[in-house]
């Protein structure tokens, strides 16, 4: 069970808002880069987020570039999962490749600061503050296998190949 507080963001949170291009020189220094996570969407986020908390977006979360640094810094901030109504394709794949759960559910029902509990097995997000249960779309099987190994590299190290057909 994942537990934490919801940090609410709007629609179209781009990878530029998560890790801006102007900080590209910090990409080989991930701990430094992670201090700026989501800075252009909410400059106070990095200071407030606690291990276990959730990033909650609207539609098309993670649109934009292929920078894997986006899910990396979100994970480094201690975020246990990103919830959104929909995700951009590359961000979704990158998050799974880094072992960061990305869950598609009706986030309109979640408010900033709500306490959430996520049951990955059952596919349920329990909003403790509101006492509502939301179901999230099952992660596709091929991707779940990668997530379960903690990401793509550990998965390939273990199996030596893709085992998803």
């Amino acid at each position: 069970m994942l537990k934490g507080k919801a940090f609410k963001f709007g629609d179209d949170i781009s990878t530029d808002l998560i890790v801006p291009g102007r900080l590209v020189h910090l990409r080989s220094n991930l701990p430094e880069l992670a201090k700026h996570v989501l800075e252009d969407a909410d400059p106070t986020f990095a200071a407030r987020v606690k291990p276990g908390d959730f990033v909650v977006g609207g539609n098309n979360f993670g649109l934009g570039s292929s920078r894997e640094h986006a899910p990396i810094v979100i994970k480094m901030a201690g975020v246990s999962a990103v919830l959104a109504k929909s995700f951009a394709r590359i961000f979704f794949r990158n998050a799974i490749n880094r072992g960061l759960p990305v869950l598609i559910c009706d986030t309109d029902q979640i408010k900033e600061g709500d306490e959430l509990e996520v049951d990955m097995e059952a596919g349920i997000v329990h909003d403790v503050t509101n006492d509502v249960n939301l179901t999230f779309k099952p992660i596709p099987k091929a991707m779940l296998a990668i997530l379960d190994e903690g990401g793509l590299i550990p998965y390939i190290q273990k199996y030596g190949d893709f085992k998803i057909e």
Binding site: D12, S14, D16, L17, P20, G21, R22, V24, H25, L26, R27, S28, N29, D40, N59, N60, L63, G64, S65, S66, R67, E68, H69, S86, F87, A88, R89, I90, R93, N94, N97, R98, P140, A142, G151, L152, I153, I156, Q157, D161, F162, I164, E165
Partner: protein
Amino acid sequence: MGKTLAEKILSQKLGRDVSAGEIVVSPVDLAFVQDTTGPLTVREYQASGFGAIADKRRSVLFLDHAAPSPNAQLSTDHLLLRSFARDTGCVISDVGAGVCHQIVAESMARPGDIVVGADSHTVTAGAMGAFATGMGSSDVAVAFALGKTWFRVPETIKIEVKNKFQQFVTAKDLILHVIGMIGADGATYKALEFGGKTVESMSMSGRLTIANMAVEAGAKIGVFPSDQTTEKMLREMGRAEQYRSISPDKDAVYERVIEIDASELEPTVSRPHTVDNTVLAKDLKGVRIHQVFLGTCTNGRLEDFALAASILRNKKISPDTRLVVAPASKRVLLQAMDAGYMRIFIEAGGMILPPGCGACLGVHQGVLGDGEACLSTANRNFKGRMGNPNSFVYLGSPATAAATALTGMVTDPREVL
């Protein structure tokens, strides 16, 4: 059942029939990274104990986003990529050569290829009939190591375009119009396939512009059939033997077909801060623009420069704006010099950057000041994109960019004739 282009390319590659919705593991014909995503790929590769590169002649590292590098950290990243190329035998395209997607189009991608790149605009090569898509650094590290990757075969939205563009209306206006219509997530996880009479007569340069921006509607690929235009381009690049004809079946099954009449389109602009926030250029009269950026993998080609130069010839840009020009590749730069376009830009008051991404991603060479606005021919206008979250980016065609440079305000190019 008939196949879409996406299904066809993957079926031919795999030697069996696949259709939308299937998960496949596919060989990769070309894999690449650039200097902002590549260092992570290299570190993943080195740390994970992967052996030799599967196909080092088709695994490429591009130094283009920071070219030349503006600071020590990025210069050190460049060193890492160069030494990895030396050690593994991968291909390196060093600073000054140009933007990855332009070089992939000029000298690497072939019709029917599967192309993966650690850059979202890898979709650009779809213009040549390749299945080309952007991925993260880890995915490309694995493609380097195994020579393969996995895909879900995408459903396809077909964009069918008929009739002729009006003067000063371009492929850029068409794709901005499409994205404005279907939205920034209108094609998420899907293929955008382009066809119809207008597309058949469209130049490769225009096709590259359109395919490049497919990802701005969320698409996995933006793909065109290959035809005599593709063949001609390959021949010009000395790669005539790499031509293959690829087209969708007549009875292909599309999720949706969108018909567009090119003759009805007008110069179109995306307003800050999303690409689907489109409006006609003429409806933005009076919006002040402090910098015009002509270049990028979207519109930094010879044909784009020819169009802009035709508007700027013997004219001066507004004293209240700057014109920054970045050719997409060394080849484009040389050809534009020979054709006299660079002289026209400089005499009009513009400045020329080396081939590369330049100001596009906000690292250097044209970062905007607080409250400033840029009209860019790039593909993306997200908040902070050009290096400052307190600035504004509008997107338009090279014609709109040139007209805007003349007036210092967003301008429909038909109004400066």
